[in-house]
């Protein structure tokens, strides 16, 4: 459905952020994109959704195809109309508008008739949003905001959803709740999801395939189950020290062991 081959992204023409990233997102699957801060995960998402252009970023090499058509030169609005909706990190809701207005805007590109029925569908998924319909989203709790965001994205009936760290800054319980909903979305609505996450454990659990990125390049990829077993992933992303027991901060060494991506 979505294929990136050798995508290279530069900010302001100088700073090389992505150095030849290639990945595939098959139809109806959940694909996870792991990596530490600054590995280039969010940039990859923004390259796909075209939002890079508003930040002086541009795709300088390689290509991004979505259902056959190339979309790396297309305006963000057109890309969204083709069914790729990005849920940005940091719970970027429209603060001063109410939940309902957020959702209505979400369905802006859909025919007005269907907006009403879609709204019901979202409320079915997120009952808590129904109570807070008329509240100004600025005053909602973190979890509720995240739900509103995902709901807003669902309003556009996307064929591909780009979720950027949905679990950031949320309590574990709410993270579990949101992940459950994401899984239901993929199962019931057949939505394809590209999930960017720091929380590797949760992401690996619900995704079918996963890529690991490090300073602008994919350094490891494979089925999520296999990756969860991989030595280095356990060491560096799942915080499992030697012999599988959990690492605690007291043992942190002042020197850094060299990663062996062999």
């Amino acid at each position: 459905m979505l294929t990136l081959s050798n995508v290279e992204v530069k900010y302001a023409g100088v700073i090389l952020v992505l150095r030849g990233v290639s990945l595939q997102v098959p139809e109806g699957k959940i694909v996870a994109l792991l990596g530490s801060n600054g590995a280039g995960k969010t940039t990859t998402l923004k390259a796909i959704s075209g939002l890079l252009r508003t930040e002086l970023g541009e795709v300088t090499a390689g290509s991004i195809e979505f259902c056959g058509g190339r979309i790396d030169r297309v305006d963000p609005e057109q890309i969204a109309r083709q069914g790729i909706i990005q849920v940005m990190e940091g719970r970027k809701v429209l603060k001063h508008l109410t939940v309902e207005e957020n959702l209505r805007l979400g369905g802006y590109i859909r025919p007005a008739a269907e907006v009403r029925s879609d709204m019901e569908m979202v409320y079915a998924y997120f009952p808590r949003l129904r109570e807070k319909r008329t509240a100004v989203t600025g005053y909602l709790s973190g979890g509720e905001q995240q739900m509103a965001l995902i709901g807003r994205a669902m309003m556009a009936r996307p064929r591909l959803m780009l979720l950027d760290e949905p679990s950031m800054g949320l309590a574990p319980l709410i993270v579990a709740e949101i992940y459950a909903i994401i899984q239901r979305l993929a199962a019931e609505e057949g939505a394809t999801i590209l999930l960017v996450e720091q929380n590797a454990r949760a992401a690996l659990r619900i995704s079918d395939y996963a890529y690991v990125m490090e300073n602008g390049r994919v350094v490891l990829d494979g089925p999520s189950a296999a990756l969860a077993e991989n030595e280095d992933i356990r060491e560096f992303y799942l915080g499992m020290g030697k012999l599988g027991e959990r690492k605690n901060f007291r043992e942190v060494k002042t020197y850094k062991r060299r990663k062996r991506w062999l």
Partner: protein, 285 residues
């Protein structure tokens, strides 16, 4: 007597302030060129009416259409490339725009006042001991009408909602498939219309001359007192400013009106920073 004429002018200021609010609501940019768009719109109307010789109504429509096109053009040429840039560069560009507009007007039509043209039949009506000119009555009516239309537009239409969304964040809206460019274009176009209509009315009452841009500056305090975000606030702010301006210049004389308006602006900023109708800014870290 001063009260009435103040209210009349106030309506025009309100209308122009509406244009200011439109731009702020959609792109959080303080449009310093609003006063000069008024000037340009007025001269356009004069051009259609006198040099081209169109009948009154037709000239007005042509001027308004040109006003819309002018506003949209400004957005298209300059602000479009600044979408990702910090706010400061957008605001400074509007400041330079005011220079360019003033320059264009003085280049095309020279710097001396133009021959007087009345937009509406000139007659006076006596109401009790007060003499009212039809001009200002029509202006008053028109201003209220425009404000009403805009209020409805913002509350209930899709584009209005989208406009309020764009002010929150360009990227968020783009990610939802809403063309931020088109929304900004429309909002600048409407601001152009408001400025042109204001220009026509002001021109017909005070005459077409460069000084009009100075009056146009009054739109800013009017909009601010109203709260920068709400159309109703802009109209009420305009009326208030009109009132103050006429009373102060009546008693103090020598055009004390304009500075007085800004004194009021600064006072309101102290008392109610978000104006009477503006909404509290939500800050979340």
């Amino acid at each position: 007597m001063l009260v009435i004429s103040g209210m009349m002018n106030g309506a025009i200021y309100g209308l122009v302030a509406l244009g200011f609010v439109l731009v702020y609501k959609a792109s959080a940019v303080l449009n310093f060129a609003q006063g000069y768009m008024l000037l340009f719109g007025a001269y356009l109307f004069w051009f259609f009416r006198v040099t081209v010789g169109l009948p009154l109504v037709l000239a007005m429509i042509a001027a308004v259409a040109a006003g819309f096109a002018g506003g949209a053009l400004i957005e298209r040429l300059t602000l479009r490339r600044l979408i990702g840039q910090p706010l400061i560069s957008m605001v400074t560009v509007t400041i330079f725009l005011s220079l360019v507009l003033e320059g264009l007007v003085s280049m095309i039509w020279g710097t001396y006042p133009l021959q007087h043209v009345a937009a509406f039949p000139e007659s006076t009506i006596r109401l009790g001991k007060m003499v009212l000119t039809t001009q200002s009555l029509i202006a008053f009516g028109l201003a209220l009408l425009a404000a009403g239309a805009l209020i409805v537009f913002f509350r209930f239409t899709r584009i209005g909602l989208a406009m309020r969304g764009v002010a929150e964040g360009h990227q968020i809206m783009q990610s939802m498939g809403i063309s931020v460019r088109r929304i900004l274009n429309v909002s600048w176009g409407l601001a152009g219309v408001a400025a042109t209509v204001g220009g026509i009315l002001l021109g017909s009452t005070l005459g077409f001359q460069l000084g009009m841009s100075h009056i146009g500056l009054l739109a800013i305090p009017a909009a601010f007192i109203g709260g920068l975000e709400s159309p109703e606030g802009a109209i009420l702010g305009g009326l208030l400013i009109g009132l103050i301006e006429s009373i102060v210049s009546g008693y103090v004389g020598n055009a004390a009106g304009v500075p007085a308006a800004f004194v009021v602006l600064i006072l309101t900023m102290l008392v109610r920073p978000y104006g009477f109708f503006g909404l509290e800014r939500i800050e979340r870290v």
